[in-house]
């Protein structure tokens, strides 16, 4: 059996303009990011078969779900898709268990029940299985929706703004849970969100959508460290996302050392523990460039860097400097005046200075296996 890779190409002028082509490998998480109305949900609905764009080809492995050229369209109930809807869309007249059992398909009742109970255990809802959706909290409903989406043994998982209706603490736990499930169900996962936090926490790949058009796509690390990242929008702003591991925690000093491919970053986040894998976003606006290594300063991160490329920053008229730090790339946003004064040009060796408290550190769930 060929690798069950999801390939999607959609195109139409209206009523919802679309022009995207992407693929997603099993185990990968494609984050589709964009403002509301950019067509994110329409893409998911097209994959699920709930929407038929004028021109489309959607396939998983060798199985073609949609091919408008040949007129092939597999109806939604024959596509093994696990979809979590934005408002969860649970069946209000069924219990949590009933919701999950309904999605299991044609099997003996006892077997369906056993499997549904197992899935509810997986999402830590075993004790709530006889409750109806109206008697569950937002986070619990979301987990029922997740268990129901997994019940079909889907070939692809689709999550539509899965955290929009829950508060921040619940959101963290759900992100962890999805990350866990992603590891054990080796299928492509497509996540639609307008919150970049979800992307940093879960996505391995990113597709940025604007008016139905992909303005940028690629692996998350590569994409966020590109100097021309105006597509991230004003709300997020440019900033490289790095993978790191917590090497040391100094609770007394209020610091944590994060080892990454280019060296060590010091963070002011002490809610971390040693050995924890993390993703670190380094906002470009918080990176200072210096021609010489400074001394006697309060900041902890002084990284030797080489300028790789420059690109204009369209919103404020500044310049984005792409820096090589070891094998990683960082971004710094500086004024044109600073470019002239420091003679910043590709190949120049500099020091990148980052305050420890400026780093946005997002822990990834550790799995001791």
């Amino acid at each position: 059996m060929a690798e069950r890779r999801l390939t999607v190409a959609l195109e139409q002028d209206g009523p919802i303009p679309l022009a995207v082509a992407f693929d997603c490998a099993p185990g990968a998480v494609l984050g589709i990011f964009g403002p509301s109305g950019s067509g994110k949900t329409t893409i998911l609905r097209s994959i699920a078969g709930l929407y038929a764009p004028r021109t489309a080809s959607i396939a998983i492995g060798g199985e073609v779900w949609v091919d408008t050229a040949s007129g092939r369209f597999v109806p939604p109930h024959r596509r093994p898709v696990g979809m979590v809807f934005q408002e969860y869309a649970l069946f209000p007249h069924m219990t949590a268990l009933g919701n999950v059992m309904t999605a299991i398909g044609v099997r003996p009742r006892g077997e369906r029940r056993e499997r549904a109970e197992h899935l509810l255990e997986r999402v830590h809802l075993a004790g709530r299985r006889h409750r109806r959706p109206a008697e569950l909290s937002g986070g619990e409903r979301q987990r029922v929706a997740l268990a129901r989406a997994l019940a079909r043994e889907p070939a692809v998982l689709l999550l539509d703004e899965p955290f929009s209706a829950v508060d921040r603490a619940v959101r963290r736990r759900l992100q962890d849970e999805i990350d866990d499930l992603r590891r054990s169900f080796d299928v492509p996962l497509v996540l639609v969100t307008h919150d970049f936090d979800d992307i940093i926490r879960l996505a391995s790949h990113l597709l940025v959508l604007e008016h139905g058009r992909a303005v940028a796509s690629g692996p998350l690390g590569d994409l966020t460290s590109r100097p021309d990242s105006g597509w991230l929008g004003e709300a997020v702003g440019p900033g490289a996302v790095l993978e790191a591991v917590v090497a040391r925690v100094d609770r007394a000093g209020g610091l944590a050392d994060l080892a990454f491919e280019g060296g060590t970053l010091v963070s002011g986040d002490t809610g971390l523990s040693k050995g924890m894998p993390v993703r670190v976003r380094v906002p470009a606006r918080d990176v200072v460039l210096a021609g010489r290594e400074p001394s006697n300063v309060s900041l902890h991160n002084v990284l030797a860097a080489t300028v790789v490329a420059l690109a204009p920053e369209p919103v404020r008229g500044h310049v984005i400097v792409q820096l090589a730090v070891g094998r990683e790339r960082l971004l710094a946003e500086v004024t044109r005046d600073a470019i002239a004064r420091l003679h910043i040009e590709p190949g120049r060796d500099l020091f990148a200075l980052v305050k420890s408290v400026s780093l946005e550190v997002l822990p990834l769930r550790t799995r001791l296996t």
Binding site: L50, H77, G82, F85, A89, T102, G105
Partner: protein, 222 residues
């Protein structure tokens, strides 16, 4: 108390439901979930018996049921019986007069099912028929029961259409509401009062049942 008239009324009510509910559910579902050209026209036609004076409706039905009309002639040919002034004719007329009372609550019931719930059912692998049986029907159930109660109660009370199409044949087309009218004409206030009380009790019971069901739906959506 005319037991025969009460029996005709009750049979007419039950028969109307049996004839009208299956197509009413199908039509209500269609109007709730699909958009198609001419949908507004269909909805308007369904609502016509609500606004038309019963005697006008009865007149048109009587004309189309008559032995000289194609429908009446076909019925006569097949069953050797006239459609007008017979129980089957009365049943057909009652079904048409009750169309809005059945279709509209059912349509509202199906419309209240959130579209994403229906879509989620498709994504759970349920084919259209199983989606209808396991999602749509149970969620719209209170609307269907409401429709049945309203149509039954309305059938018991229908006067104009029944008189026009059925005439007043004891044991065949003489319903309770017509019997009441006859008793009043004959100055039998006692008999009319008894039968009116029966209809009053039935009507109040029907409305109470509709209200209880409505509250149950509200609780479920809580």
């Amino acid at each position: 108390m005319e037991w025969q008239a009460l029996s005709v009324s009750l049979w007419l009510g039950a028969g109307t439901l049996a004839v009208l509910l299956p197509p009413g559910i199908a039509l209500g579902h269609l109007l709730a979930v699909r958009t198609f050209p001419g949908k507004s026209l269909v909805e308007a036609l369904v609502a016509v018996p609500l606004v038309l004076p019963p005697t006008v409706l009865g007149y048109y039905l009587l004309t189309s049921f008559g032995a000289r009309s194609p429908l009446g002639a076909a019925f006569d040919h097949l069953l050797g019986q006239t459609l007008a002034f017979s129980f089957p004719g009365l049943l057909a007329a009652s079904a048409i007069a009750n169309l809005p009372f059945v279709v509209q609550p059912i349509q509202r019931g199906f419309e209240a099912v959130p579209p994403d719930v229906r879509e989620a059912a498709a994504c759970c692998g349920l084919d259209p028929w199983r989606r209808f049986l396991r999602i749509d029907l149970p969620l719209a159930w209170p609307g269907i029961v409401t429709a049945a109660i309203l149509a039954f109660a309305h059938t018991l009370g229908e006067f104009g259409v029944v008189l026009m199409v059925g005439g007043n044949i004891p044991g065949e087309t003489r319903t309770l509401s017509i019997a009441i009218y006859d008793r009043v004409q004959a100055f039998d206030d006692r008999g009319a009062g008894q039968m009116a009380a029966v209809l009053l009790v039935l009507a109040v019971a029907a409305l109470a049942l509709v209200t209880v069901l409505g509250r149950r739906v509200g609780r479920r959506r809580g």
